[in-house]
């Protein structure tokens, strides 16, 4: 490959940054873990697919097409079709994670997740909205080129071919930018809400999301501690693009974000799947290359 020339214009520099090769472990980590987290989130629904998607369970009637609570009316399907959708979703997610027929699995998973998110607003949460986007990005990427069953079969057919070590940067850059924007937007929403002066964290620890850990913290953390945690979250989230942009703040930002998600996951019951999904993207996008290579036991000299 021709050695790249120095970029001239800001646009060329941006394009060069966007397309700069990234360690393939970043992409493959997201490809392996994210579908499993999405399936784990869906599992409590998939096992009741008939109650979810068919008239066996309660269904919100058609609301006229202009109601934000029903972004798209999709009529219920028969129980048999509901079970087929559930099985297809599980298979697509597992194949994507294992890297078997990766591209097809990613495309099918994206379509099925989008259907499930729109088919029933009552079961749609943030994870439901993130899922199709992640699967679609994986479909467009060359994920599965390594650490996958597809790669294993390819290696058997062509033992002389060395495995790839890097991937064109686009999809990783996209996830990186998305995370920074997501945190920043969330931080601004909190600033405009009650996070500066209200007891937001405390107030959400008393309902049926409460876990043994959140109850322990309710009893042991003083009132000012919750306010301090709110300020820490705000500081991290509002300025997240800056923390992730600067090399010397990137690693502390990853640690703060992972700690924040750990607390969310441990304190708010089923929100653990959202916390794990965000943590997966975070590690895949921003964890130091050395950590990732060690996790995959990849040869650093490759």
């Amino acid at each position: 490959m021709r050695r790249p020339t120095q970029p001239q214009t800001p646009l060329e520099r941006l394009q060069r940054w966007f397309e700069a090769p990234q360690p393939i472990e970043r992409l493959e980590l997201i490809r392996i873990v994210a579908p499993l987290v999405l399936l784990a989130f869906l599992s409590s629904r998939l096992v009741h697919a008939d109650h979810w998607l068919s008239p066996v369970g309660f269904r919100v009637p058609y609301l006229g097409g202009h109601d934000w609570r029903q972004p798209l009316y999709l009529p219920p399907v028969s129980p048999a079709v509901a079970w087929l959708v559930a099985i297809a979703t599980a298979l697509a997610g597992l194949c994507l994670s294992a890297g078997l027929l990766t591209r097809f699995a990613a495309g099918a998973f994206a379509i099925l997740l989008a259907y499930l998110a729109l088919a029933d607003r009552l079961e749609a949460f943030t994870v439901s909205k993130l899922g199709p986007m992640i699967a679609l990005a994986l479909w467009l990427s060359p994920c599965g080129a390594r650490y996958s069953l597809d790669a294993w079969f390819r290696r058997r057919r062509h033992p002389e071919a060395a495995p790839p070590t890097h991937v064109a940067g686009g999809v990783i850059r996209y996830f990186q930018i998305f995370l920074a924007a997501m945190y920043s937007g969330a931080g601004i929403a909190k600033l405009r809400g009650d996070w500066l002066s209200g007891d937001v964290l405390w107030s959400h620890l008393h309902d049926n999301y409460q876990t043994a850990i959140s109850w322990f913290l309710v009893r042991s953390v003083p009132g000012w501690g919750w306010q301090a945690l709110q300020y820490l979250s705000l500081t991290f989230e509002v300025a997240a693009p800056l923390w992730f942009l600067l090399p010397w703040t990137r690693r502390p930002a990853v640690v703060v974000a992972l700690s924040m998600h750990a607390m969310i996951g441990l304190m708010f019951g089923p929100v653990i799947w959202f916390a794990l999904l965000m943590s997966t993207l975070l590690v895949g996008c921003y964890a130091p290359e050395r950590w990732l290579r060690r996790a995959f036991r990849a040869d650093p000299a490759a």
Binding site: M1, S44, R69, L118, K129, P164, G185
Partner: protein, 228 residues
């Protein structure tokens, strides 16, 4: 994708085609995307718009709301999580009109909503949370609960429901309290405010009970299934 370097198809319209297989770049072996360059360019633009819309929506700018149709808007409304403090813990409950006793009593509806039945991701909680002001949805909920109760418990038939919320005050930070547990309605003290959002009409309750007594549980027509 991991074929020999340089084995990819050349793009006749581009002077610098991207190889499909791993490419040697100063040691590392690069795997190129399978998607054609034009598709990737379109995807990059759409991805940029999506990220911008997510950020705008969370930041409180209404531009994405105004520009996007409902199904797309739904997918960008995902970053503004828990911006406000809860004033009270909200519990959603149901009381049913039991035909035999001709009285209202609490009905545990969790068995009829088995998906995450014990927390606020339950379909009953979500339906009440989103649609508490929409009588059409609450009437459908009434029909569904009555159908399931009368099907599974013919010995305790019901003619209708009252759907209500409880507002349980949240103590100030640092106040010692007991762990959350679901209590029967009767065990909540008077300080817990109750708000009734829906009650089945008296005539409808009596009609259902009469139909059930006559052995005709399906006399009531199903909900009108309007569709776009």
């Amino acid at each position: 994708m991991a074929s020999k370097p340089g084995s990819g198809k050349p793009d006749s319209r581009k002077p610098n085609p991207a190889p499909v297989g791993p490419t040697k770049i100063d040691g590392p072996r690069l795997v190129q995307p399978w998607a054609p360059r034009r598709l990737r360019q379109v995807a990059a633009v759409l991805a940029g718009l999506y990220v911008f819309a997510v950020w705008l929506d969370a930041a409180g700018n209404g531009a994405a709301d105004a520009a996007l149709p409902l199904p797309l808007r739904f997918f960008v409304q995902e970053a503004a999580l828990f911006p406000h403090a809860a004033r009270d813990v909200i519990e959603w409950r149901a009381e049913a009109w039991f035909c035999d006793g001709e009285r209202f009593a609490e009905l545990d509806v969790r068995p009829y909503f088995p998906i995450r039945r014990d927390d606020k991701e339950s379909r009953f909680y979500r339906a009440m949370f989103f649609h508490l002001h929409q009588r059409k949805v609450l009437a459908e909920l009434d029909r569904f609960i009555a159908r399931e109760q009368n099907r599974t418990h013919p010995e305790a038939r019901i003619g209708g429901v009252m759907l209500l919320s409880l507002r349980i005050p949240i103590p100030p930070p640092g106040t010692p309290e007991t762990r959350y547990q679901r209590l029967p309605l009767a065990d909540y003290p008077p300080s817990v405010e109750r708000h009734y959002w829906y009650v089945t009409d008296k005539a409808q309750r009596e009609q259902r009970c009469a139909d059930l007594a006559a052995g005709n549980p399906t006399a009531e027509p199903p909900a009108p299934s309007e569709s776009p």
